[in-house]
Amino acid sequence: MSGGDTDGRLVRLFALTGGRTRPSRADFTLITTVTAVDPPPTWATRPQPEHQRILRRCAEPVAVAELAALLDLPVSVVVIMLCDLLESGRITARPPHPVSCKPEDLDLLQKVRDGLGRL
């Protein structure tokens, strides 16, 4: 890890996002799971190198926070690039399980409890 400094990077963060500081859509939370679409849609243009890095990392489903940690990039930067990839049809995004604390959640909660019990 570069310790949070950008000195070790060849490309500055604003260059990765084309100067954008906000995502074009609000689909991505820290635990939204993203997966590369394989094969990519025929109409998709060739991704830039940094987008390619993301696509390689999400060949298997991976959460946004994990992706950012693995790429050593801030979440906000990764999300902007994920928006590009989603809009060009190169990834799919699965939102987190909605949480309501209603009886509908009982199955989910029981499943989490059982899973923790096995630790």
Partner: protein
Amino acid sequence: MAGSDVITRAAPDTVKILIAGGFGVGKTTMVGSVSEIAPLRTEEPLTAAGLGVDDLDGIEEKRATTVALDFGRISIGSDLVLYLFGTPGQQRFWFMWNDLALGALGAVVLIDVRRPETSFAAIDFFERRNIPFVVGVNGFYGDHPYPPDEIREALALPDHVQVLLCDARERESSRDVLIALIDQLIATAVHTGGPRPTEK
């Protein structure tokens, strides 16, 4: 997914629990003791949006100011993953908490009995937003000088909030705190059956 013409490997469902508390109380230690991966860290540079609510006077190198977020993962079978997020401890990073708390199952507030006041703000945060939480009293070196009831009284916690003595370094101990939180959530879901108040 229905209606989708693209076949991708099935992504798991994801849920999260927050591990909160004052700076240096053992949040990352707890994440690490139960996570199946070594805690990961993402760093977010402080933006102008953050600076508005922050007091950064006296910080010379603003360029290098980042908020670090440590997190871990527990796979619950093949189709469900639980993420644990340690909340940034320093008070000036609290603008991040709202985003983090959104959609969380609940929280564990860790307390260091030698300086419990550092976790007061975390308790306050979850109480005000009606986010379910349990209190884990992290005994450093396994030392627990006060019984749970005394701590509950000192923190003025309502009866439904559980107080557990724990050792964040121990996997079983951290796991039991998480299980207590889930049990509390199950009890709420069974008994009230109603939605909890929406945030904001």
